[in-house]
Amino acid sequence: MDFTLTDEQRMFRETVYRYGKEEIAPLCEEADLKGEFSFEIWKKLGEMGLLGLPFPEELGGSGADIVTCCLAGEALGHAGVDGGSLLAWGAHTYLCTCNIFNFGTEEQKKKYVPKLASGEWIGCMGLTEPGAGSDAASMRTTAVKKGDKYVLNGSKTFITNAPVADVIVVFASVDREKKHEGITAFVVDKGTPGFSVGQPFHKMGCKCSTTSEVFFEDCEIPAENMLSTEGAGWMIALSGVEWDRSTLLSPFLGASIYGLELCARYANERHQFNRPIKKFQAVQHRIAEMRIFVEAARLAIYRVASSKDNGQMLNPLQAAVNKVYAGDVGFEMASHAVQIFGGYGFMHEYPVERNFRDARLGAIGGGTSDIMRMIVSRIMLM
């Protein structure tokens, strides 16, 4: 066992933390109030090289390992960058660009990865449909081959980044009879005739990521835009999803560290009954719960990340445990933070309020907690 970070990883985390705190976090309160995607924040993420971390340098990335990618998410969350901007970061990098990088041809990679890695283009992924959430294989979007083109019809919903995206990796079925085995992934460019994007949803939290439906109406795309082969889509969707239970969760961990520090500071400063509220055990015990969560969630998230870096097979139980715990308990911790701040915690100007709303997504996005429990119990009962 070895739980230490390399010097390079430690310095990277520190650098990203400082950059996030000084350059990005000050923009987040206003952006969250507006509830709009912030191109200013996006630009700053790109300038720091944070939008293409895991890709090789020749494609405009930084060649970072997965632990380092998680450190970036954690450091930004810890710095006070809002959950929405980090959701945009995650969906762009890990759901869109990673799929193109991992499954694309050389031409596809050269065309898309550098522009996505720099942040010039924004990416998104379309899997979920109005009638196909946890049961993604029941999707109704179809792709019919017509000469050297595919014609897409159907709609996708809850697509993070869609309203601002230049590129979407979309899943559609070439043969619905085949169920999983008919699902195929395509890269679709903004502006393709027949492809349109709905109005952004008003969301409870993670408001700086913008989310909408996307529609395909006789949308013709060149066959060379297919990722991998016909029927490979389900494997592509799954291949990312479990590993994403490290990188996409790391901002939630960071936000919990941020919340813990905000609370520890506030409990020292705030006085009631002639003493700082940290003297009250009810406050202390909430702080302790937050610390335990941070330690346990950190272990769970980096276990998944480091196993990928070390070339080990992913243990699906570990990935699921990670998601259940970080999602469910992370939200409880965000609630503790609001409680410590009392009335102030209910006010927008205190970041614990935003953290609370943002944290709620942890138990929903990328596989709900209930689905995770289903996975774990099925394996246990095998």
Partner: protein
């Protein structure tokens, strides 16, 4: 970063698991129900067996303690029989660990091999009626009379006392000097004049663990642990801090046993024409058991590794691990009972015993409430 145990640790885990399931587990239910005299005999046999397999005080040698090894072996012993684990721990980790870390060469020579071979059984006496987590409150006093110290006081809950050959006794040698400089551990043998062990205590769970009060009335003690008086506060603080890993091992052992048994039950029992595990109310409980058990294990190993490496906040990680693992164990035992339903409530069922056993982790050696206070103080003080 690497979360895997190394090959030697993995082998230790496999060997300990195989040995304990075969040699120790069969006595767990017996220990729960037997008379105290039978219990003491069986526990001593178990300690001998563990010693024979090299599992008594794994990792405790050469003046230091390898807590990763200790945890790995401990979890397997606890899974087979929680009471045997705690008795082995009182002897080899609490008593043997203190001697190994702080004893004089002569004290180590005299006791360590004997404890490791289970030729002698050790105990540590510190808890009193008015002093548990607040150790400053002990009333046992040591008064120097010529060459010897005379101990007076009552230790009201001492693990292994009924079977112990050597007891480390915490007493004030200089009350004026206060907790940090006035406390000392005395090395006392069971036949010392003025030492009397009370009637065995009956307990709710872990009924195989020998427990009794020990009374000292002008008990003659000649030796202080390490030779110099006034060092016991640091000594007990260190062993209790490292001890969090052992209580985590106890708790994970219990919760692993509960989880495995409940999983089998969920696979085998049918209701409404289906395996009960296929109902989400049951299946999701299993998933929650797995999550808490798995995180407990990771926290414990993380703390153990941090302590081995001398990390700054390893004691806080230990507190987190002990608290999380022990509270998880009571939840998991409770869910296991729900899955067993009536069959888990019947005397003689594994789950009925484990449910009672699980509680101890939350209340022993710094209960959850105090652990939370310790953990919080660390974070709050950073912003003071």
């Amino acid at each position: 970063m690497d979360y895997e145990l190394n090959d030697a640790e993995k082998k230790l885990q496999q060997d300990a698991s195989a040995f304990c399931m075969k040699e120790i587990a069969p006595s767990a239910q017996v220990l729960d129900e037997a008379s105290k005299s039978e219990v003491f005999g069986t526990i001593k046999e178990n300690l001998k067996k563990l010693a024979g397999a090299g599992l008594l005080g794994t990792g405790i040698e050469g003046g230091s303690i390898d807590l990763v090894k200790y945890y790995v072996a401990g979890e397997e012993i606890a899974k087979a029989c929680p009471a045997t684990f705690l008795s082995s721990r009182a002897s080899s980790f609490m008593c043997g660990g203190l001697l190994n870390l702080f004893g004089t060469p002569e004290q180590k020579e005299r006791y360590l091999t004997a404890l490791r071979n289970a030729d002698k059984v050790g105990a540590v006496a510190y808890t009193e009626a008015d002093a548990g987590s607040d150790i400053a409150g002990i009333n046992t006093l040591a008064r120097k009379e010529g060459e010897v110290w005379l101990l007076n006081g009552v230790k009201d809950i001492v693990a292994n006392a009924p079977i112990a050959d050597v007891i480390l006794v915490l007493a004030y040698t200089d009350k004026e000097a206060g907790t940090e400089k006035g406390l000392s551990f005395f090395v006392v043998e069971k036949d010392a004049a003025g030492l009397s062990v009370g009637e065995p205590l009956e307990t709710m769970g872990l009924r195989g663990l020998p427990l009794a009060a020990v009374t000292f009335e002008n008990c003659e003690a000649k030796e202080i642990l390490g030779g110099t008086p006034g060092n016991a506060f640091g000594q007990i603080s260190q062993i209790l801090s490292m001890g969090t890993v052992g209580i985590a091992a106890l708790s994970v052992g219990i919760s692993s046993a509960c989880m495995e048994k409940a999983t089998q039950k969920a696979k085998n029992r049918k209701a409404f024409g289906r395996k009960i595990g296929s109902f989400q109310e049951v299946g999701f409980k299993l998933a929650d058991m797995f999550t808490l058990n798995d995180l407990s294990k990771m926290l414990a190993l993380r703390a153990a590794w941090g302590m081995n490496m001398g990390e700054n906040e390893a004691d806080i990680l230990g507190a987190c691990a002990k608290l999380f693992a022990s509270e998880s164990a009571t939840k998991i035992a409770n869910w296991a009972m729900q899955i067993y339903a009536g069959h888990g409530y019947i005397k003689g069922s594994d789950i009925e015993k484990l449910y009672r056993d699980a509680k101890f982790g939350e209340i022993c050696e710094v209960p959850s409430e105090i652990q939370r206070t310790i953990i919080a103080k660390n974070d709050l003080d950073k912003f003071a």
